[in-house]
Symmetry: C2
Subunit: 454 residues, 2 copies
């Protein structure tokens, strides 16, 4: 009987203690969230990245400027150590604006188009060939595309509520289509932009050449043009495409990840990474992709410092270089971690736009996942409730090799692919409140991990 009484007392004490902890931690988190929502820091940093610097493609002058700006922002945020980490990145240049049109029954139809990232160009020559349309990747093998310009017309599925799923599925055309088309004798490829809306803006993005086949020019056309071209082809009239692009791959050059740390007070050797990518496509300001992830990661450092929440574990904000067309920064980060035998306990990436946060995607063993999932109630008040999805981010992905628990900020994805990789990805597309709410939730999770580990 006594022992039962003792057990109940202990249980009661434990519950009370847990409740007290929860209340205390909720207060700390609310303090951080309030600070972020009232602050202009993240939004003004984003304004600098977008309006003062603009496009930041790896190897470009914009990327160089962004590295300097990132260093300064991390210092201003209060990081106690700020440094650059060298990495190698491809230097691809677009060259003069692309030219593209089709002739349908004697009528010229201009196309809004853009070279895909890492694509080869026509070296200034206007090439032409009949257009052959495919609406799935398998048709590249079954249709006669020899000597043709292939029009890969795979729309994003509008019925997928998570737009990233549609992007992943339809993206095969952009990523692998050009090399498969080359295998079957096509001379160039035009892909329908990976976009969730219909408008006149082409969306770029990386294509990945297979070295076994010739590297043929690969461009994206706007979704409006894809619809028009599709209709033209339905008429049965011959459609001849004309293309000229001037992009070229200049080879590998040196660049940098930008890193700022708050050293852990108790377990400084345990590293928590929070990051996004500093590079962006050259067509726009890279606001949602991924300026928002950059300034949110810096904001995590700022708010921990501003609210006096010295982390027990080391929190490191990493502004990765070269996510868009090579992952050079991500590779260098892993390499250095291995070289220095660093202990990377957790990494969080924000690379799904600065939209209202909805959850955290988790990629880690189930016991660690359970630890984070039990913290879910801390986040409900701030609109974040979904801890069931799997995933993280391209920049931190390589850390899986050394056993790091990975996570990604899950956002409301409805608008992302309207502007992703297109010239519409500008500062004005970002809501200050949505951006800040993402940063606030990230700060809360980073602080919980820094306090309790996984």
């Amino acid at each position: 009987m006594k022992s039962i009484f003792f057990f109940i007392t202990i249980l009661f004490a434990t519950v009370v203690h847990a409740q007290q902890n929860f209340t205390q931690d909720s207060i700390i988190i609310k303090r951080m969230v309030d600070d972020v929502m009232k602050s202009k820091a993240a939004y003004e940093n984003l304004r600098v990245l977008c309006k003062k610097i603009g496009p930041r493609l790896s190897g470009s002058l914009g990327a160089e400027k962004a590295i300097t700006a990132g260093l300064n922002m991390l210092k201003a945020a209060g990081a106690d150590t700020v440094y650059l980490q060298p990495c190698m990145v491809p230097h691809w240049v677009r060259g003069a604006k692309e030219v593209g049109y089709v002739i349908v029954g004697g009528q010229k139809m201009n196309l809004q188009l853009t070279s895909l990232g890492n694509s080869e160009g026509t070296k200034g020559k206007l090439i032409n060939a009949p257009i052959v349309e495919v609406t799935n990747i398998d048709e590249l093998a079954t249709k006669n595309i020899k000597g043709a310009i292939v029009f890969i017309n795979i729309a994003m599925n509008p019925t997928y509520i998570r737009t990233f799923k549609a992007y992943g599925e339809s993206g095969v055309g952009r990523r692998s289509g050009p090399s498969i088309a080359a295998k079957y004798g096509a001379i160039a490829v035009m892909v329908r932009s990976l976009a969730s809306n219909e408008d006149g803006h082409p969306h770029t993005g990386t294509t990945v050449y297979n070295d076994s086949f010739s590297k043929i020019p690969a461009l994206a056309i706007s979704t409006n043009d894809a619809e028009r071209l599709h209709k033209s082809l339905l008429t049965g009239k011959p459609v001849i495409g004309y293309l000229k692009n001037n992009c070229t791959m200049l080879g590998m050059v040196k660049s940098y990840n930008v890193i700022g740390e708050l050293r852990g007070s108790t377990y400084p050797e345990q590293i928590i990474t929070v990051g996004g990518h500093l590079d962006s496509w050259d067509l726009a300001e890279g606001a949602q992709d991924d300026g928002t992830g950059i300034v949110q990661s810096i904001e995590v450092i700022r708010v921990l410092k501003a609210t006096g929440m010295q982390p027990k574990r080391t929190v490191r904000a990493v502004l990765f270089m070269n996510e868009e067309n090579g992952g050079g920064g991500a590779k260098a980060y892993l390499q250095q971690a291995k070289l220095l035998k660093e202990q990377h306990v957790f990494a969080l990436e924000s690379d799904a736009g600065g939209f209202t946060p909805r959850g955290f995607n988790l990629d880690m063993p189930s016991t660690k996942k359970a630890t984070i999932q039990q913290w879910a109630p801390f986040f409900y008040n701030y609109g974040v409730y979904d801890f069931k999805e799997t995933g993280s981010g391209s920049d931190i992905g390589p850390l899986k090799e050394i056993g790091t628990a990975l996570a990604g900020l899950g956002t409301d994805s409805q608008r992302y692919f309207d502007l992703h990789h297109a010239e519409t990805d500008v500062f004005e597309s970002v809501s200050k409140r949505e951006l800040d709410l993402g940063a606030a939730n990230m700060a809360a999770l980073i602080w919980l991990v820094s306090e309790y580990g996984l």
Copy 2:
């Protein structure tokens, strides 16, 4: 023993049956959601409301055109009965563009400002008086404001994650401030726009005069101007305000609610209302407020018809007139319901912008609430998970008097008050996917109620 066995069998059969129903209903809901997400109907209807018609203030030509357009849209959606319901609405006109500035130490500072809805004007006269600032409503009584132009500077609280809460709290200045200021002798009022961002656009909205006091001119200034004016006043220099506005209340005129029905197959006498409001402020296109609610309500009719889901109960889409400055449509709808002794079992309003849906706010007895809450799993796949908030909408609110269970679409509210009642509330601010996702979830809830009742 036998009876236990029997009980288990029954229980098992019940569970299996419930599971089968859930699966079947999920399939029906998915079919409706897919149809909405693929359709362009709601988005194109919104384009017409915003771009072909534009502002639709009660009593205006725009409102008249919108009534005709609404009728046509409901017919095109497949409603089996479409009709107009008369109501009385105030006819308030803004007149020529307002003029406003302040003189601070001899320097002129122009103000971006707009008359509040239903406000009296200065009748074309440029009035002037010293500016006195108050930062909460109680200061109207404690500060000396006699003969002054009062600047009511109550910012929306950025730390409230639900922006409607901040709007409600800070909105007291706009709604009640002018009459309280008049009580203490002020000659006019300038309120800080109820906006969640800082920019140069003033936000209008209704002010409610108390007939016991004189009706003094009431205007809103942009948040940027509010910040500048606040700083000017901090210098201690005298600040003289100058105002001219030309608005006037012309009295009550006849207008209409627009109604389209799908007659219930089994319980036609049981009416389910789904609606938004057709009128909008005169400054912009009324896209998010509340063009989106209108086209979503029409979309509910369209998708039920398009997918062959004849409702068991009567589903009625109501495009309410005069939500913004009087509620004439809402009053007429209740009055008619009482006159005809209609049985209104459920009403759902969408008037929180066409942003990503997050939940349904519920205002009904707990047993009915529990019925809807048990349907929550149908909605998780479509991003809607929150069934705990209370509320509905201004247009359906009066139906509470006759015992109707009320609900409101809860949306992601972070961006709403950036554009609410300002000239930035235009078609381009609406995401097709967010709009459609709201309509799809509304259709699912309306269908469930039509099928099972509450």
